[in-house]
């Protein structure tokens, strides 16, 4: 069987130096703040494997560390400890946090696409929808304007944004901006797509449409998707396996059916029983 496409190995991110107490491997606290030195452990020992073509879920409530984890997977931040092993980059699993700035740029341009919860993190609002997509192709070294316009136009058509290519992104609705982000993330054919709450804040019909588009893309391209969500019905629709994060730690992992129907950790039981 083929190995994982991404492996997160004991990722931690702390704000503060930490002390003997909170660096101890068996350190457990009520919150993610060390009671002795006040160091905040935004993530602590997070490990998981994502297989090629799989949709992998990351669940947890606000503040659990989900977006921090996405930032680390996207190289927007470095972890304090641990490694990410990224298979398509080099033969076998190689820790990408050893990569040079140039190698990181390559990975971010070609191998990994990211869709943030807040479109402003990815999109320039004063630039047209097409321009936002083309910009990413420029970053990847493409220089043929006509060709890029064609590709960007096709991509936006796929995202049901035909005819809106030359509109300023700032004039588009939230649902449309999310789809521009998806088009931009996919335009260089990445192996991995990171989706941070891609449908949060959208009304139900726009959510259904966006999820359907993501499902189509996934089926057509067979890429691996890491999906951050706090919505169990989105998780059930999209993902096969997931981890549950609480205060920066993995409290439970399993198949989505197991997590939803037979949650074992008190926190997972609380989350599942709170679903509408």
């Amino acid at each position: 069987m083929a190995g994982p496409v991404i492996r997160a190995e004991r990722l931690s991110l702390r704000h503060g130096k930490g002390c003997a107490l909170c660096h101890a491997p068996d350190f457990v606290a009520e919150t993610n703040i060390c009671p002795q030195c006040g160091t905040v452990w935004a993530l602590r020992d997070v490990s998981f494997d994502v297989m090629p073509g799989e949709v992998f879920g990351i669940v947890g409530e606000s503040g659990a560390g989900k977006s921090t984890l996405i930032d680390i997977l996207d190289f927007a931040r470095d972890p304090s400890d641990g490694a990410i092993l990224y298979a398509p980059w080099k033969e076998g699993l190689v820790p990408v946090h050893d990569a040079t700035a140039q190698e990181r740029r390559y990975l971010r341009s070609f191998e990994i696409g990211v869709v943030h919860q807040n479109p402003r993190r990815n999109l320039m609002m004063g630039v047209s929808a097409g321009g936002n997509v083309v910009e990413r192709m420029l970053a990847a070294g493409n220089r043929h304007i006509g060709e890029m316009r064609g590709v960007a136009g096709d991509m936006l058509d796929h995202m049901e944004l035909a005819g809106r290519m030359d509109l300023k992104t700032g004039t588009l609705s939230m649902g449309m901006r999310q789809r521009v982000q998806i088009a931009r993330a996919l335009v260089n054919s990445p192996k991995v797509l990171l989706l941070d709450e891609p449908t949060t804040g959208l009304d139900l019909s726009v959510q259904a449409r966006t999820l359907d588009l993501i499902r189509q893309v996934h089926r057509r391209l067979g890429l691996a998707i890491i999906l951050v969500t706090h919505d169990w019905s989105v998780l059930r629709l999209m993902a096969r396996r997931a981890i549950v994060l609480k205060a920066g730690r993995v409290v439970e992992r399993g198949t989505v059916a197991q997590l939803m129907e037979d949650p074992q950790a008190p926190y997972t039981q609380l989350l599942v029983s709170s679903a509408l």
Binding site: T255, Q258, P266
Partner: protein, 241 residues
Amino acid sequence: MTDPILSAQGLNKTFVMHLLGGRKIPALRDVSFDLAEGEFIALVGRTGAGKSTLLKCLVQIYRPDSGRVQYRDRNGAQQSLTEMGDHALLDLTERDFGYVSQALSVAPRVGALDLMLERAVGLEPEAARARARGIFADLALSPALEDVYPVTFSGGEKQRLNLALTLMGAPRVLFLDEPTAALDPDTRTRIVDVLLARKRAGISGIGIFHDMEAVAQLADRVLEVDKGGIVAERANHACTF
């Protein structure tokens, strides 16, 4: 004699309700049985006896506290579902198992036939469409429903679509949670006929039935479940083909 296709050995399951002060609800006690290849087992018993829990422990939607579930795969190799990694487990169960729950859970705003086509594995589009239409008709689902979103289906239609989705794949073992509940006698007969055809094709199955006519027609063996354990077992001699 060949090994059984599925074997449950000493399954136990207790639910711990952490939100209710850690209250424990015992659900399965020391359940063991074998399912032979090509055999159909009917689980009968009162509501709340543990029949659905048993099905879910077999397919690993519930993780049993102790005990083993062994499965003999297509190559004749024994696989221990209870000790497998979750990725390998999904690969195996998605390919070989057809679990039909009592609730339909599907993508919104996708028509019924398109949902079925998503489940087609290794078929040309035309062949997949023909197969989906055939299953649809076999289960007495009207062709007018083919492009309708299942959210608008009646209870009985949803139930049959759930079975139809499972039959689109090529499961070796069916796990059926009351597939004939809430259906009128004619439609029920259609479902039983479809299941009988699968059985004749060599598919094994274990299902929960409250309808004794279906049990008499389908099952080789009947296991009675009560208070989380198997309390009686009988061969079903009425079963003839």
